[in-house]
């Protein structure tokens, strides 16, 4: 039996990158940091706050997200939304994710057990 440490590292490696995909999908509907964190967690993408907040800023700098300050509520919140560039990158990423899934399925079916 492999140690929990090794398992955790592999799962982390597998999950890395999917956070970007999930965020780009989720932010088709504009949202702010904490609310996005909650939504991602609820949909089975548990992500650390200290990873997500800097990630949102980086994606914004790369032009994949646009942002807008909302000052109508009790505290000012920065709402992020997937930009057209973000949408086309997301499209590419989703295609690739499907390709990985397909290949993996074929490999599993073709492999002798």
């Amino acid at each position: 039996m492999v140690s929990d440490e090794i398992l955790r590292t592999h799962l982390q490696e597998l999950r890395r990158g999917t956070v970007v995909v999930a965020s780009l999908v989720a932010l088709r509907r504009p949202d702010y940091g904490y609310a996005l964190l909650q939504r991602l967690t609820d949909h089975g993408f548990p992500v650390d706050a200290n990873t997500l907040y800097p990630l949102l800023r980086r994606l914004e700098e790369q032009g994949l997200l646009t942002s807008e300050w909302n000052t109508e509520e009790s505290r000012p919140r920065k709402f992020y939304r997937t930009s057209p560039e973000g949408e086309s990158v997301l499209d590419r990423l989703l295609t690739d994710l499907t390709a990985v899934q397909t290949s993996l399925t074929q490999l599993i079916e073709g492999a002798d057990r």
Binding site: Y32, G33, Y34, A35, Q38, D48, A49, N50, T51, Y53, P54, R57, R58, R75, P76, R77, K78
Partner: protein, 316 residues
């Protein structure tokens, strides 16, 4: 009153670029408050919730590094191998060479061989430290500025020779370097302790002390360079034409001064010649000179021809 959140924000923003500080501050404060609200809504008291949220966000320096995309490593994988190779290459010969030269100069200057060795060792250590520090600093700066290195891509041609094909063995190299080191060490040592029996207390050097002004340091430099050649030869694993050329040049640089000095009676210490009656009788001194000249010329010639033959063989 300064809250934990205020202190956390201040600590994080300290190392975030000024231009974005204000915006990140507002957003991060909002996010922290949202997270605290989320916990208090679940029935937690505000103080505990704040502590837990900040603990979850972790070390402010790490969070700031993520915000500014700064690297949390001194030298990363892009530069590590180049750093390691350069460091090993420089450390393999520079400290030893400089240390030996400084030690020899100190030995030639004063009459304290022990002190000269100490000075050589101390200089070698200090040179090694300087090399390690400056090379690492330059690579750490490259890492931070993300400067591309444009190093040639690795190719299969760079694979080291298999041990079977080796023309130059480690034993040969070690023996050569050992002999050269003894030879180099002997030159200053004979100046202080030649073991030639004398009447008085004073030591009688074998070689003319006047040569320390130029020729002996020059010969020592040539010998140190020969050590370098031995190392280069071992790393290549066989004789190549550039190595043969350097070998020939070093042989010439050693043999020509020795032959010339010996023929003009300037190599041996005049006091030593006077000390031994036999040397002064008839042609005896000339005979010694002829033997030394012929011996030096033969060894230099044989060594050069031998290296050329081996290079020719290795080529095929």
């Amino acid at each position: 009153m300064t809250t934990l959140t205020d202190r956390y924000l201040a600590a994080t923003l300290r190392s975030v670029p000024v231009a974005r500080r204000e915006e990140i501050a507002t957003e991060l404060r909002g996010s922290i408050e949202d997270m605290i609200d989320g916990r208090t809504a679940g029935g937690q008291d505000a103080t505990t919730a704040e502590r837990e949220v900040l603990t979850e966000l972790g070390d402010p320096a790490q969070l700031a590094a993520r915000y500014s995309d700064r690297r949390l490593q001194l030298i990363g994988p892009t530069y590590y191998l180049a750093w390691e190779r350069l460091l090993k290459l420089l450390l393999s010969f520079v400290p030893a060479t400089v240390g030996i030269l400084v030690g020899l100069l100190a030995a030639a200057d004063g009459d304290n061989p022990g002190g000269a060795i100490g000075e050589g060792v101390a200089t070698a250590l200090s040179v090694a430290l300087h090399i390690a520090f400056w090379v690492t600093l330059v690579f750490a700066v490259l890492e931070r500025t993300k400067t591309p290195l444009h190093l040639p891509r690795w190719s299969v041609d760079q694979l080291p020779e298999g041990p079977v094909d080796r023309q130059i063995t480690l034993t040969d190299t070690a023996a050569s370097i050992g002999f050269l080191t003894l030879f180099i060490a002997y030159l200053p040592v004979q100046h202080f302790r030649s073991f030639v029996p004398t009447d008085g207390e004073k030591n009688l050097p074998i070689l003319d002390p006047a040569l320390w002004s130029f020729w002996l340091p020059f010969l020592i430099t040539v010998l140190v360079a020969t050590v370098g050649l031995e190392i280069a030869k071992y790393r290549t694993g066989r004789w190549t034409w550039p190595l043969v050329t350097v070998n020939a040049a070093l042989n010439l640089a050693f043999a020509v001064p020795v032959i010339w000095l010996m023929s003009t009676d300037r190599l041996l210490n005049p006091d030593l010649v006077n000390r031994f009656e036999w040397l002064n009788q008839g042609d005896n001194l000339n005979t010694v000179a002829t033997v030394v000249v012929a011996g030096t010329a033969l060894v230099a010639l044989w060594d050069t021809v031998d290296s050329a033959i081996k290079a020719y063989r290795a080529q095929r």
